[in-house]
């Protein structure tokens, strides 16, 4: 299988399982023998702040950082954090977005207005991405058994968009491999529910 360049950002709030989500996609790339480079965030910068990991897959890739305007898949575990990736989003971008807004506590103290989800979606549309998939990942995760696995729900939804350069099933296998045994079944359940739930936005 040959891929020249496929760029992914997983964005959210520190603590949402952003790194785990990206690691699953990277594991799928490894299983297929694809070249990739992934950039991640550790340390103080991850404490409930804006976090994004960048994953670049393909034979043309050497830099671990994505060039503005060249994003192929955005997985936004939190919608404000999705919107924060604006410089990377273009006509080639598929957006998979959780609809649960987590207001930054500092915004209240600075009196910075917090846009509603509908406003966020409108702003996202104005960037003309290829497609936007919206889901209520927390409700689906709860249905699977725990809020914790909202990230895996989002991963399932990302698979369902069909844009990932992997044959059917590889991502799920990667998830099975990367999951700690205690969470394996829960993660797979969440992944399947996420995959089934994808629907176009209102």
């Amino acid at each position: 299988m040959s891929v020249r360049e496929f760029n992914v950002i997983v964005a959210g709030v520190g603590g949402q399982g952003i790194l785990f989500t990206t690691n699953v996609i990277a594991r799928a790339a490894l299983k297929l023998g694809l070249n990739f480079a992934q950039s991640e965030v550790h340390g103080l910068s991850q404490r409930y702040g804006s976090i994004r990991t960048e994953l670049r897959i393909g034979s043309d890739v050497s830099s671990p950082l994505i060039l503005e305007g060249t994003l192929d898949l955005l997985i936004a575990l939190e919608p404000l954090e999705g919107l924060r990736q604006a410089p990377y989003i273009s006509e080639r971008t598929t957006v998979v977005m959780n609809n649960h807004v987590i207001p930054p506590i500092g915004a209240y103290l600075e009196r910075f207005p917090i846009p509603s989800f509908d406003e966020i979606l409108e702003l996202m549309r104005s960037l003309n991405p290829k497609q936007i998939m919206v889901l209520n990942a927390y409700d689906i995760a709860k249905e699977a058994g725990d809020y914790l696995v909202a990230n895996t729900v989002m991963l399932g939804a990302a698979q369902a968009t069909g844009v990932l350069p992997f044959p059917e099933g590889v991502l799920r296998e990667a998830l099975e491999e990367v999951s700690p045994s205690r969470y394996r079944d829960l993660n797979l359940r969440a992944f399947d529910l996420g995959r089934e739930s994808v629907s176009p936005p209102r």
């Binding site: 404490r47 060039l67 503005e68 909202a150």
Partner: protein, 631 residues
Amino acid sequence: MGDLLAPANTLEVLLGNEAVARGALEAGLNVAAAYPGTPSTEIGEALAKVAKKVGIYFEWSANEKVATEVAMGAAWSGLRALTMMKHVGFNVASDAIFTLAYAGVTGAMVIVSADDPHAHSSQNEQDNRHYGESVGLPMLEPTNPQEAKDFTKEAFELSSRYKIPVMVRTTTRISHQRGPVRLGEITAGFSKGKFVPPEPDRYLQVGAIARKHHAELLEKLKEISMDVSPSYAKVEGSSDAEFGVVTSGVAYAHTKEALKLVNVDAKILKLGMTFPLPEEVIGEFLSSVNTVLVVEELDPYLEMRVKAIAKDHAPEVEVLGKLTGHMPRVGEYTMRTVLEGLSKALGVVPPVNFAEIDRRSSEILKKVPPRPPVLCPACPHRSTGYALRRAAGRAAFMGDIGCYALLFQKPFRVEHVTHAMGSSIGLANGIDIATDQDVVALIGDSTFFHAGIPALINAVHNKRKMTVMIMDNRITAMTGHQPHPGTEVNAVGDEAPAIDIEKVVRSIGVDYVRVVDPYDHAATERAIREALKHDGVSVVITKRECALLTVARLRRQGQKIVPYRVNPDKCTYCRVCINTFACPAFVDTGSMVEIDPTVCFGCGACVPVCPYGAFEPQEGSLNWREQKIGV
């Protein structure tokens, strides 16, 4: 995440830091010691996890200098030793390292410096390439995780061959880059060595002996610059190109792709050994082009040296870089930085319309509220900050390095300073001498052991008046939960004697010492008010484990995390909770405050904050203070 012990000849996904650890294992590592610090931490975490299985010795040391000396001791006993640190950690260790270069080693020793361009998780953007030259340490710089593994392994071989320590310098985007790595055979293990100085004066650095060893070191480095450095220099691209780029580290990875995008005839000189530099190779490269752009993060380290070499080898070549304004000196490089620099140097329009991207996205970004890192929900430091604000609001607050540095933020603002490890107490000494203000120092448990104790001794001996808050969350939290001398287990999970902070403080002669649970806001406030009245050095130890540890343990025990809720009949929308406690689980709906159940850890610390008692447990909610969970 990656399997550090995966078999040889397989491809494994490794973080750059894990790759460094694997490289050391493949090189026959025996002993490793470090103090955690972003972006270097995962090297030690990876080794800690496999130490017992592989049979190596690993410890989290009290600080970087001690870690270096532990590794030196092993390398002077004929073993293969590793120490690793963040860029500013190197400053702490440097006193030992400078003289180590004169002494050399009998086994092998590798020192990893993980720099942090952009200061993602640091107090500065220090460029540790300067250390290579000023100490006299050969320095290798990998450009991706594969090279991080290979270069670390080779660094051990070089160290063993030349009997001097070798440095591997990474940056955040190498340390925290994950990629496929082709593995080799693990040869690490442990057997006892013997401390036998190769010559009687080998480890006695004074006067004439030190001068003799200095001269020897310079000879070795000269030899390395001729015999080794050239093999780490690679030229790529079309040989008749008149435009060249000299680069190293992650900047090479950006450059390689950026050159394809600008689509010009160019060649790259990639330097894998940035000290000592291969003068002949660089000279030859410079004389083969008309113009050269130096692409490197932070200081114009290569650029200055390339210019010096050009003077002798290619006086006509035009050298562009930071000094000519083509490349920035602050922050980390991205594909964009390099594309813009290249386009400027070549006099072409950048292949991407960045102005249009900026115009479009800046409109949107204006509407996205910033989200800087904040203290986690249930963080004990939030409660300490809350009590400090109420009890000591007008003091001069000297902060330190740790998660609690975030208490500089609204609404707490109980850190006027965050500087260097242990500086809080040292600075409090100076501020107390110079002013009549109340002075409070805030320091974490791990930082206290690292560099706080000498400053506290200094304060007692010199009869200072100050209050020291030792915020003991029972772990090195910010870097991801490493044990320290105050914890009951060591790096590899064995039981270890825990040094009791209260006993240390009392033994120094501090006569006002209180230990409180910070969740008990009233008791914490009372202790702070008394401490401030005390004539002398007073210490308040706020003792409660990092909330992330508590939550992880509760989950492991199968305990359900049930969030608190706000009773809408009691909430008056006074916003006192947001304005004084600011837990990230609070949501302002415009008519009341709610708790986001996806964020709340169900600790109950917010309960006493509401004047109307609106925070309530739900069925199954715990109360960490009343039930003594996490203390």
